[in-house]
Amino acid sequence: MKKILRDFIFEELIFVTEPSQFSDDENLLEAGLDSMGIMRLIMFIEDKYSITLPDTEIEPENVQSFNALEQWILKYKKG
């Protein structure tokens, strides 16, 4: 799952010099993930995993890293 997220974020949303050096815990918001990027990422996730992520949960703690994103997605994938 993280590979899919990494590919989408680094190909479409944020430029980093060395994507492979960007750890799963590193802060995506500090790396430049902005509001439009977050919305686009959510649309991508919902489409990819056929889930709905509630707007009320669009919080920094859920989108700030690849690990956080994975946890958030799994919460709805399981349910």
Binding site: S35, R40, E59
Partner: protein, 446 residues
């Protein structure tokens, strides 16, 4: 006009054509055209030699900065000139003049200077020096670049390491609007095209509120119309308060919507009698990846609208819930990218026809925009990076059509939110803007 193919440097992409149609509309009002500007207020006189060297390096690396805009057939192109234009100007305040007045006067002259489109230099760099203040002022015509590109040009000029400067604009790519549009099959483009048309038709059902008395335009000869601007800078603690309130009001969907909503409410408080059903503002979103240093030139944007009916404006919570839902809905339905095929189709129209479609609600003479809006967010140019001095503050300026007569621009620099009100005098006065700002401030700080 006949031009040899050899003289063409590059064609305008279809997002550039979109901005060119607005340039034509601004010119129709007797104003200079679609200029965008960044002003860097400096701590001291900079190292002029280094600055000039970097500007020369920039123009060599991006020769389109020296080009002339020419129409060939239906389309427009950046073409080579016989004589290279001057890009750098140093304005020195005479000893007897008052420095601050000189700064303001010089900037007003630069933003209000009228020139034929073909003779305009795509980008100019002005250093305005006086004992009281030093300002680096960059003016570009919008088909040349968008605000993010202008930010990248400033970053280029503020990069000391030559090797790092060489990385700007690399790898060279096709215009991002072309790349994005090419991702869709032809039938998907048609679906997007009609989606966008339906979306605009829905927006047009509500007549956009025009707050300012356009009769003053008729009373005033068009030669008297001119752009003025008022820059208001919040303190660091006020900025923190605004960011906190924005997060509370619109969450992570962005502070831009918060600024838009606050201005809508302020306008409604100030002009409750203004005709119309809803406030509507277009805003561009950038297709570049965040933190990317390419492409530098050209426009790589698509458009979105924020619209709020009058009855919702009155209730702060309802307004922000509405704007947030509208923004989410637009992205969920892919309406953000739906404007790309529409912009592509528009690039085949004459500027006159295109401008009309862009501005007027379908089949009426009603202007769709209640005001223009642009938020460049947090600028990442380090204060110490300017050659020979430090950057104290930054603001940006742009020309605007009449109506809507007002463009509201925002950025954050050195942890301070800067609001730039750009307005056309005498339709709007500075006194009106000062009153409006007090209302905006109350809304922002809640």
């Amino acid at each position: 006009m006949s031009k040899n193919k050899q003289e063409i440097i590059e064609p305008l992409n279809f997002a550039d054509s979109f901005t060119l149609a607005m340039d034509e509309e601004i010119r129709k009002d007797g104003l200079p055209g679609s200029y965008g500007c960044f002003a860097l207020e400096l701590d001291d006189r900079p190292d002029i030699e280094t600055l000039q060297h970097r500007i020369a390096e920039f123009s060599q690396k991006f020769p389109v900065s020296l080009a002339s805009l020419q129409q060939i057939g239906r389309h427009f192109y950046w073409c080579k000139r016989d004589n290279l234009p001057q890009l750098f100007f140093n304005h020195i305040c005479p000893e007897n003049d008052e420095g601050l007045d000189f700064q303001q006067h010089t900037i007003n002259q630069i933003i209000n200077r009228k020139e034929k489109r073909e003779s305009i230099t795509p980008i100019e760099f002005h250093l305005i020096t006086s004992s009281a203040k030093n300002t680096f002022f960059m003016r570009w015509i919008h088909p040349f670049c968008d605000a993010r590109g202008a930010d990248l040009i400033l970053q280029f000029l503020c990069t000391k390491d030559e090797n790092k400067r060489q990385q700007f604009g690399l790898p060279k790519t096709e215009p991002l609007v072309n790349i994005q549009l090419a991702k869709y099959h032809w039938w998907q483009k048609i679906i997007l095209f009609f989606k966008a048309k339906i979306y605009i038709a829905k927006l047009d059902k509500l007549k956009s509120i025009q707050s300012f008395d356009q009769n003053k335009k008729k009373e005033s000869a068009s030669r008297n119309l001119h752009l003025n601007f008022d820059v208001q800078r919040l303190t660091e603690s006020e900025t923190q308060q605004v960011i906190k309130q924005a997060k509370k009001a619109v969450g992570l969907t962005g502070t831009s919507l918060y600024y838009i909503g606050c201005l809508m409410r302020a306008l409604e408080k100030m002009y409750p009698e203004a005709e119309g059903d809803a406030y509507c503002t277009p805003y561009a979103f950038n297709i570049r990846k965040q933190r990317a240093i390419t492409p530098m030139t050209g426009n790589h944007v698509s458009a979105l609208f924020a619209q709020a009916p009058r009855e919702i404006i009155k209730d702060r919570n309802k307004l922000f819930t509405h704007l947030k839902q509208q923004n989410t809905g637009v992205i969920r339905q892919q309406l953000d990218y739906a404007f790309l095929p529409l912009m592509w189709a528009g690039s085949w129209l004459s500027l006159k026809e295109y401008g009309k479609i862009l501005r007027l609600s379908n089949g009426t003479d009603n202007e769709r925009s209640s005001f223009w809006f642009s938020d460049v967010g947090k600028l990442d140019i380090p204060a110490q990076s300017f050659p020979g001095t430090e950057i104290n503050t930054v603001f940006h300026v742009c020309q605007v059509t009449t109506p809507p007569t007002l463009a509201f621009l925002s950025c954050i620099y050195n942890n301070r939110l800067t609001l730039s009100y750009n307005f056309i005098e005498p339709i709007i006065s500075l006194e009106q803007i000062e009153t409006l700002h007090q209302l905006v401030l109350l809304e922002l700080l809640d």
